[in-house]
Homo-oligomer: 222 residues x 2
Amino acid sequence: GEKLKVLLIERTIEEQNFSDKKLPGSIIFEDEDLDEAAIRILNELTGLKNIYLSQFHSFGNPQRTKNMRDKNWLEKLTNMKIGRIVTVGYVALIKISRKIIFESENTAANWYDVSSLKSLRLAFDHNEIADTALEHIRHKVKSEPSMLFELLPQKFTMTQLRNLYDIIMGTTSDVRNFKKKIMQIEGLEQLDEVQKDVPYRAPRLYRFDKKVHKKNTRKLYS
Amino acid sequence: GEKLKVLLIERTIEEQNFSDKKLPGSIIFEDEDLDEAAIRILNELTGLKNIYLSQFHSFGNPQRTKNMRDKNWLEKLTNMKIGRIVTVGYVALIKISRKIIFESENTAANWYDVSSLKSLRLAFDHNEIADTALEHIRHKVKSEPSMLFELLPQKFTMTQLRNLYDIIMGTTSDVRNFKKKIMQIEGLEQLDEVQKDVPYRAPRLYRFDKKVHKKNTRKLYS
């Protein structure tokens, strides 16, 4: 079935006949704000536009450039002497169907299963950054499960919703408990329609009304 | 009654006979990690130790040092030429009874009502940082109200809990609705005891069992 994937960039160091992977990222310009730089860099590396990137954590351990391979690569790329590098991390959850320029003059990008991160040794401290990003996403989905609806079609089945949740959270939810609990989300409603063109008993469709959700969740205890 | 306050540092520029306020903060050392620096700086400015500081957002707009007063002050203080400054913001929610060194050789610190921030013009973009921090805290309390119990005594009344919630959130909760909803928190339990030494009908006491909470909230939909 479907899986949660992470977009990685191939890094090749030709002199050393070496290649590995890293998270998409680059150096900020002097006159740029942090958000601007994140949007520009993602676009340069993948062609992606209009993605809601959210800042989740900054990484500044002085040891993160201790690997001479990383340090030399960065110094050559930027033509600067590299001391400590602070990385401001941004994350976005997108549909895998989004159109991406995987190959360009300077870059090759690819989707990798999040579960494969354990066995990949990414450049710099990017394993740690990826783990922190995943933790951040799971925490956000848990505290605001309504964000899941951004990734679903307008009308969806309970199975689609549960699968999406389980894919992101790495869980296997109980069918009945999941439905009971998720239906507590304000604005999530069952429709009178069923899914069409399915070769078995057609499941009911649901939709999420953002306005109703906002109106009813503003004040938690009022 | 009690209020939510923010700890501000007095900044005095003697040559200009000028003084204003800023958030506690300073420059990171070259060999320090971000968390380390945050802990050290808070301790240097206030004597506070063993505070759980959590990183919430980084600020790096090139315009944030555009005010020449801020720029000159920082250049004099650090003896460095200042271009763009990236501030990594940390936040902690603490009891106001924590012992703080308000006056030291270089620093004067004071608690200010959060509601007074609107009328204070803080140094740099510290108004924006303070607003973002407050938003972060409110969002955290809303998604994990169990963090409130860190700020209460081991046994507390429902009124104490509701007042704490309302003080932080800036809300006025309905007494009955609040109790009904907050009691959904796993691990929050009513005791058979009542508050002692009160000159009126003694209210019931509650406690929060962290272990029960963790056990029962790990998997939301399993």
